[in-house]
Amino acid sequence: MAEYRVLLVDDEEEFVSALSERLMLRGIEVDSALNGEEALGRMDEKEFEVVILDVMMPGLSGLEVLRQIKSTHPNTQVILLTGHGATREGIEGMRLGAFDYLIKPVDIEEMLEKMKEAAKTAHMD
């Protein structure tokens, strides 16, 4: 049984599909959403310890989704996906309570490490 559940949120369907499959091959329980509204809907149906959240999405932005997650699911840890490091969005995200951020294209081992740390923190809260 997986140690933690992950919700992957990104508007690029092929990215979500390939990454989800890679995480499942590694024994991670993964669900996915292609936009912010869908992500918040999924979180109302199921508990997730970790959310991997793209910062730049059409419609509800990643930062707005983060704000809402922190308000309604404070125990869930959010790792932001950003195109570049110390951007306004990345810095603002950390200020809003994101656990950490990853820069695309991601290194899957680095992602697994951060997810594990985030999940530990989620269980401790």
Partner: protein
């Protein structure tokens, strides 16, 4: 002399270029992310489901590794493009001259490699804070380094040094070319002519931009017959 409206227009034009470049670089990053995960998945499935003694196993493993390397290489190039694009965000910012030189040298590296010129830096150990226009400063530094690369013989060396010298910050570009300091000074102070042949007014144009930024371009003879072009700015503390 540029009017304020012309200056504002120029700032807006540059800002537009930076905004669109940054946006495009973000889109390319998303594409790279898809390629990265897809090829990563190919590698995962190969390792999981394909026996190692399958004839094409090792070739496919090599190919997926090569694609992953090129994705990373592209990501690094896009990072540089994005940093360059963001230099156009503001017309005034608190800069560290060392960081600007680092960024310029990275941008100029390919030009140096194409001419087989070695590009070296010697940066001051302390940050050199300057209030300036990031894009125009990059433009001036790149112009001076590019000039030095083009003047240098193949297998030659261009050295870029930063230092605080009294009440000034200096960026010195040394090359092994044949232009002496008198010739360089003449080119710097020459009148800019729209009819001049391509490249003739380059140093004069860079000098004009440098003057607009509050700096100067000078030239000196280095020991061993090398030429130094020196970009100087007053070392005043930033107030933003």
């Amino acid at each position: 002399m540029q009017t304020k409206v012309e200056e504002l227009s120029r700032v807006k034009e540059i800002g537009f270029m930076g905004k669109v470049t940054a946006s495009l670089s973000h889109e390319i990053k998303n594409t790279l992310a898809i390629i990265n995960e897809s090829v990563g998945l190919m590698g995962d499935l190969l390792r999981q489901d394909v026996p190692e003694n399958w004839p094409q196993y090792s070739r496919l493993t090599e190919l997926t590794a090569s694609i992953e390397e090129q994705v990373q290489r592209s990501a690094n190039i896009i990072k540089r493009l994005n940093q360059f694009a963001h230099s156009m965000d503001k017309s005034l910012a608190d800069l560290d001259l060392n960081e600007t030189v680092r960024q310029t040298v990275v941008l100029a590296q390919r030009f140096a490699s194409l001419r087989r010129v070695n590009l070296e830096t010697e940066l001051d150990s302390q940050p050199l804070h300057l209030l300036s226009d990031p894009f125009r400063l990059l433009y001036v530094m790149f112009g001076l380094i590019e000039r030095a690369i083009n003047c240098s013989p193949k297998e030659g060396e261009v050295r870029v040094k930063t230092e605080r010298s009294g009440k000034k910050f200096q960026v010195t570009v040394t090359d092994q070319g044949t232009f002496g300091p008198d010739e360089i000074r003449a080119l710097v102070s020459a009148s800019v002519s729209a009819e001049a042949e391509q490249g003739e007014s380059d140093l004069a144009l860079l000098a004009q931009t440098t003057e607009a930024l509050g700096g100067t371009i000078g030239a000196e003879q280095e020991t061993g017959g090398l030429s130094k072009v020196i970009l100087s700015f007053p070392a005043t503390m930033p107030t933003i």
